[in-house]
């Protein structure tokens, strides 16, 4: 590390620029926290509307992540291993949801899961409704957040040396056994961290969600509604509580998925 050598002017410039970026991230959040008094916060603990929206948000994002993983992990494995014409196109398609405006994504989704859509006609008899329902919220969250999982998982699989899989095949393992005993166990850390990212991105989604379902309200929608109806102070408490829940949650998850410390030889 360069900190072990004498710092030069160049290093000081790097440090200065980096610090400014960190300040840019921390300052608004810190300002938000500090502006909220403890009495406001304790008042929020009795706010049932807020807590049920937080619970809904975490749950819907969780469902989105689990379902997204079920389809995203196999795709990621394929993309990490197979070379086929059009692979670059597939990679581009996966990144699309990150690029398009999320309100536009919501409109687009509405066309395929709306009240008169084919998806609704198929799932309706099974008791699944999308528009104005939790299932719809999860779909909106999944759409905008699945690239994070797919990309992280693909990179995770790509980092597993192909030779390990080849050796396993020659030792008599079928491709599915190789996947479950070699590839997946070796790539689980990046996959899990991709899942955490996907979940976090789902929780924070506003644009696509509000178009599919204004009610029931996820917390980002609730913050928006309170800001519109009652003003900044009232909205701020809800925002602070959601941020606190996320920071605590992700700190725990980061800790659980931290890279294993290599044992001394």
């Amino acid at each position: 590390m360069f900190l072990e050598t004498r710092p030069t002017v160049f290093h000081l410039i790097l440090l200065l620029l980096g610090s400014l970026l960190l300040l840019f991230i921390i300052a608004p959040l810190a300002r938000l926290m500090l502006a909220t008094s403890s009495s406001e916060l304790s008042g929020a603990f009795g706010d049932e509307e807020l807590w049920s929206s937080i619970w809904l948000t975490l749950r819907a994002a969780g469902i989105a992540t689990l379902i997204g993983s079920m389809f995203g992990i196999p795709l990621a494995y394929l993309l990490a291993r197979a070379r086929f014409p059009g692979r670059a196109l597939v990679l581009g398609i996966i990144d699309l949801p990150i690029m398009i405006p999320h309100s536009a994504a919501g409109i687009a989704l509405l066309a395929v899961i709306g009240r008169h859509s084919l998806a609704q006609k198929v799932s309706g008899p099974l008791g699944i409704q999308f528009v104005g329902e939790e299932a719809g919220i999860a779909v909106a969250m999944a759409f905008v957040s699945v690239p994070f999982l797919a990309n992280a998982a693909r990179e995770g699989f790509a980092a597993v040396p192909e030779r390990l899989e080849k050796v396993a095949r020659t030792l008599g393992a079928t491709p599915s056994r190789v996947f479950f005993t070699i590839s997946l166990p070796l790539a689980w850390r990046p996959i899990l961290s991709g899942m955490v990212l996907m979940w976090a991105r789902g929780i924070s989604e506003f644009g696509a969600v509000i178009i599919i379902a204004y009610h029931p309200m996820t917390t980002p929608v609730l913050v928006f509604q309170r800001f519109n109806d009652y003003g900044l102070t009232y909205a701020r408490v809800a925002a602070v509580v959601l941020i606190l829940v996320c920071v605590v949650g992700f700190t725990i998850l980061r800790f659980l998925t931290r890279p294993a410390r290599r044992e001394a030889k």
């Binding site: 390990l164 095949r169 020659t170 008599g172 070796l186």
Partner: protein, 346 residues
């Protein structure tokens, strides 16, 4: 023949395996030797079923296995980097293949232990691959490959990641294990010395072609062409003009070769068969020249001395002892002597 490759072709990026035929005998130790990048690994992966050839057939005991999946072919492979499963202990690495084949638990343990004993890794069974030295990893990889009793084991540069002293020991061990198990080994390497030490037969691969295959003595004595000879590290190969009965001319130097079938265009004089001396001496050797030392360097346990006789540069291998005794240095004048039978014509 146990394994027969018939007109195997493979294109991969800039690399091509143009049209390869190869036959491997039951229970033999075959070493394919060639410079890096001639597709030796690709060839092994094609044999193992890990890569599909573009065309051609692979027969195993007269059965066409070209489209047979690797897990059903039952050929083991061992890579240069050993490819141990890093998340599994040594024991779990070894039993991986046995479990994949659904063997009863009790047999698995027994066979794993006996494989570990064969390569002396019993004390490391509970360690992770990261905690092993290069030589230990190599043994684990060998045990893992052999425990499933493959009928054919493919070895891809298995000794190139260890230092020279260890390499010698592991070579002996590979040879012993191959003899002990009777498994057919196909080993690829860029190291000629390794090929000579290990192979019952040696195949020389240059630019995707199998240029020559045969027992080591034969390869060394009668390389099919100049490129094979050069690759095998054979110094002193010269283009010659055949000059009548019993001699030829290389760079203007007349060399006695004895009775030889003509035509031949090259000669090769083994560096070990040239004698250097301070003075001329009477002997049965037909070739004796005055020469000047141009250069020398250390080659493992010998010294290679390059001497110039007129326009001809000869490499001579001598021991350190002779090197000191002759007081060799650049510019020293010596006599170089060799018998006409030491000259190989091709």
């Amino acid at each position: 023949m146990t394994l027969v490759l018939e007109s195997i072709q493979k294109r991969m990026g800039s690399f091509t395996l143009p049209n390869l035929d190869l036959e491997v005998k039951e229970g033999e130790y075959l070493v394919l030797v060639g410079p890096s990048g001639v597709g030796k690994t690709v060839l092994l992966e094609i044999i193992a079923g890990l890569l599909n050839p573009d065309s051609g057939n692979i027969f195993w005991r007269n059965r066409n296995v070209t489209s047979c999946a690797p897990e059903r072919r039952g050929f083991g492979i061992m890579y240069q980097d050993y490819a141990l499963f890093p998340h599994l202990t040594v024991f779990q690495n070894i039993v991986y293949g046995l479990n994949s084949r659904g063997l009863p638990r009790i047999d698995v343990k027994e066979r794993a232990i006996s494989a570990a004993e064969m390569v002396n890794i019993v004390p490391f069974l509970e360690r992770l691959p990261d905690e092993l030295s290069g030589g230990e990893k190599q043994r684990v990889a060998l045990a893992r490959a052999l425990v499933v009793a493959p009928e054919l084991l493919l070895l891809d540069e298995p000794l190139s990641a260890v230092d020279m002293h260890l390499r010698r020991r592991l070579q002996r061990e590979l040879k012993r294990i191959q003899e002990q198990t009777g498994t057919t080994f196909v080993h690829v390497t860029h190291n000629v010395d390794e090929a000579l030490t290990l192979g019952h037969r040696i195949g020389v691969m240059l630019d995707g072609h199998l240029r020559q295959i045969g027992p080591p003595e034969e390869i060394f004595r009668k390389p099919t062409d100049r490129e094979v000879a050069r690759f095998l590290g054979m110094r002193n190969i010269f283009a010659v003009r055949v000059g009548g009965q019993g001699f030829c001319e290389a760079n203007g130097v007349k060399i006695h070769v004895g009775e030889r079938p003509v035509p031949y265009r090259h000669i090769w004089i083994r560096p070990e068969e040239i004698i250097l001396s301070r003075e001329a001496f009477e002997s049965s050797a037909r070739n004796q020249f005055r020469c000047v030392v141009e250069d020398w360097d250390y080659q493992d346990i010998l010294v290679r001395v390059v001497v110039a006789l007129e326009n001809l540069r000869l490499s001579v291998m001598i021991t350190y002892k002779s090197f000191d005794k002759l007081g060799i240095d650049r510019g020293v004048e010596l006599m170089a002597t060799f018998k006409s039978s030491a000259v190989h014509c091709f």
